[in-house]
């Protein structure tokens, strides 16, 4: 058992940290279009420096890094508050799926443009009604969320024809490919999530210290201290479970079901964190002028996006515990 970084891992981290410190492009501009272009430029910059897709094979534009280095990369990017990438889903889901299930032609065709953000990928998993018929070509409409923002899109496919050579994993193998896609999403995103949780928690600590309460601050209040401490412990458990999962993945080669556990756990943690933040805000929680109000609303989706908590618990029960499946 060794929870410190090896000299190679430390060198990787230090190199990355120095590079990010030098090239960090500052705050994201306002407005959807501008923000998107900003993220695209940032990803291109990473790609040009060899930092996009660090764990992808070198022959497709990656760095061939270890899983630990990939985890370090994710942690460092969050820690530096680096901008998001334009092509998160291509990097986290599409690319790994093509690497795992694609033909050599597909890899040559698709992987590099994912890394360079020349081609942006999206994921289309949810349908308005299960069993619905997919109904002229592709239409995309932004989907506003309860926070007022548009982060997702509605995608309308009407008799869209997909060329045979674009089927990944062969015909009739869709479920298997979809599962891999989701497992990659969960395993790789988890590291970013746990660091994001830690940053949010640090901000909440600061908020509590700055909020006056009964002559002191909210951070002196025993109830709030207990809840902050519990969240701190949960965030550490999330981090440590992710590292244990990573060690197992490196040993056994495939991401396990721990990713499902982590995604579910993170969503509960993040929701609890934003709920506590609004409690700390007290009567001011009625106002919109607080970043935590937005976060509270945004966090409601955490237990839905990328696999609902209900489905994740099913997966844990069936695949980890071996409980029987309802038929």
């Amino acid at each position: 058992m060794d929870l410190t970084l090896s000299p190679e891992e430390e060198a990787f981290r230090d190199e990355l940290r120095a590079w990010v410190a030098e090239h960090h492009p500052g705050r994201e501009p306002e407005g959807d279009e501008a923000a998107f272009q900003f993220r695209r430029d940032w990803q291109k910059q990473l790609y040009d420096a060899g930092w996009a897709g660090v764990s992808w094979p070198r022959e497709y534009g990656g760095r061939g890094a270890t899983l630990v280095e990939q985890a370090i990369f994710n942690e460092e990017m969050v820690r530096a508050r680096a901008p998001q990438l334009a092509n998160v889903l291509g990097l986290a889901m599409g690319g790994p799926t093509v690497i795992a299930h694609g033909t050599e032609e597909q890899r040559q065709r698709f992987l590099t443009p994912i890394l360079s953000a020349d081609e942006i990928w999206c994921q289309g998993f949810s349908e308005p009604d299960s069993g619905s018929d997919l109904a002229s070509a592709v239409q995309v409409r932004p989907l506003r969320q309860i926070t007022g923002e548009a982060e997702f899109n509605e995608l309308f496919l009407e008799e869209a024809r997909i060329p045979d050579e674009n089927i990944v994993g062969g015909e009739g193998n869709g479920w298997n490919v979809a599962i891999t896609t989701l497992m990659h999403e969960r395993a790789t995103l988890a590291f970013g999530l746990q660091v994001a949780a830690k940053i949010a928690l640090a901000e909440l600590f600061a908020r509590a210290r700055e909020t006056p309460l009964d002559g002191g601050s909210a951070a002196d209040d025993e109830l709030i201290r207990q809840r902050l401490a519990q969240l701190y412990i949960e965030s550490e458990v999330l981090r440590l479970n992710a590292y244990r999962g990573l060690t197992a993945t490196m040993k056994y080669g495939v991401p396990g079901a721990e990713g499902s556990l982590g995604k579910w756990h993170w969503s509960e943690l993040n929701q609890a964190l934003t709920e506590l933040a609004l409690d700390v805000a007290g009567p001011r929680a009625q106002l919109w002028d607080d970043p935590w109000t937005y976060r509270f609303l945004r966090a409601r989706a955490n237990s839905i996006e990328g696999g609902t908590t209900e489905i994740l618990k099913n997966i844990v029960a069936e695949r980890v515990l071996g409980l029987p499946r309802l038929r």
Partner: protein, 353 residues
């Protein structure tokens, strides 16, 4: 022992539900919330006035209907269920304080027109920074999260030691500025006072405390209605939506969640009704009952919509779906007039912990 409404109360409840359902379909709620500056139309206010709602709890001598807290709570639950954007509640808060501590002259000047729906008031309670300290009858400072101040004729301004001042919004030194609230169905404002003239109400701690208890119970009842609607939406969705060839309501992750929502909604309802009854008929139990109601409904009022959102999955998180308005109202209500923790501490004190 009869824990049910009498015929008159039932009639109020049913006609309120029917009227609100016809006047405030969710498209109208959405329109008022997102596109209307004040959040309600004159026509809508006139209709409530014709029904006598603004004066429902005001004594007949002061031009009201002389009904009780139970009747106020019935309207509030239905207003919450409909999620009707209206200044009804903010106006009632001002009216309750005037009725409790207004002099004869003050009641004649502000309460009678309020009861008649001819003038509206609102309560300005929350300070931006340090508590507002009056100099004689002159008030300076900023109050935030004041509901419907932009369309009110006067404010009841709370300052330290349980004192209240009426300030007319058209007077000198009053500046009212819209602020964006978490809940777009209730319009909030910042009120900046610079040497504004205030008319002090009488200091009657018991009567004022009862007025605040009544507001807390009325808001608890509103949150009960909000939660009930969110539950109804969840149940309907769980019956219709299919996954893996079955309606999702057959899965215990969904059905037990809905059962939990029912437990919370029924609990909020029982304790709100009881508190209303106690304020009307058993005053010695009123303060404790009101604190219980607000504490319980503060939690249920946003947890139930949040739970309903989880039942709905992704669609419930979209702006196009109406559920988010219920979540926002419920959470904003939880923060208003004392949060769950504040009221639990009051329960501890009054219950003799």
């Amino acid at each position: 022992m009869n824990f049910d409404f009498n015929d008159e109360q039932r009639a109020i409840k049913e006609s309120a539900r029917d009227m609100l359902a016809s006047r405030y379909p969710l498209e109208e709620v959405r329109r008022l919330a997102l596109e209307h500056e004040r959040g309600f139309t004159d026509e809508q206010w006139r209709e409530l006035t014709e029904l006598g709602w603004p004066g429902i709890f005001v004594r007949e001598e002061d031009g009201g209907q002389g009904l009780g807290v139970v009747e106020l709570v019935i309207l509030q639950e239905e207003l919450g269920y409909a999620l009707a954007p209206t200044p009804f509640f903010s106006n009632a808060c001002a009216g309750l304080l005037l009725a409790a501590a207004g002099s004869d002259e003050q009641r004649e000047r502000w309460l009678r027109p309020l009861a008649a729906g001819e003038a509206r008031g609102t309560l300005a309670q929350l300070d931006e920074g340090a508590p507002m300290e009056p100099t004689g009858s002159s008030l300076t400072g900023t109050k935030i999260a004041v509901a419907d101040a932009g369309s009110a004729d006067f404010l009841v301004v709370a300052v330290g030691e349980g004192r209240h001042f009426v300030v007319e919004t058209g007077g000198e030194g009053v500046r009212i500025e819209p602020t964006r609230g978490l809940d777009p169905t209730r319009k909030l404002f910042a009120v900046h006072l610079h040497g504004a003239e205030g008319h002090q109400l009488e200091q009657d701690p018991d009567a004022t405390d009862r007025a605040y208890c009544t507001m807390a119970v009325a808001l608890a009842a509103e949150s009960t209605g909000v939660a009930q609607r969110a539950l109804d939406m969840a149940v309907e969705y769980a019956k219709d939506r299919k996954q893996f060839d079955r309606p999702i309501g057959v899965y215990q992750a969904i059905s037990h969640r809905c059962a939990q929502m029912l437990l919370e909604v029924e609990g909020a309802r029982s304790v709100s009704y009881y508190a209303a009854w106690a304020l009307d008929h058993e005053p010695e139990s009123g303060a404790l009952a009101a604190a219980m109601a607000k504490a319980y409904a503060s939690d249920a009022g946003w947890r139930v919509p949040a739970s309903s959102l989880q039942v709905h999955g992704g669609i419930g998180f979209t702006w196009e779906h109406d559920l988010h308005f219920f979540l926002k109202r419920g959470r904003a209500n939880a923060a208003a007039l004392g949060d769950a923790r504040f009221h639990r501490e009051r329960v501890a004190e009054l219950a003799g912990v």
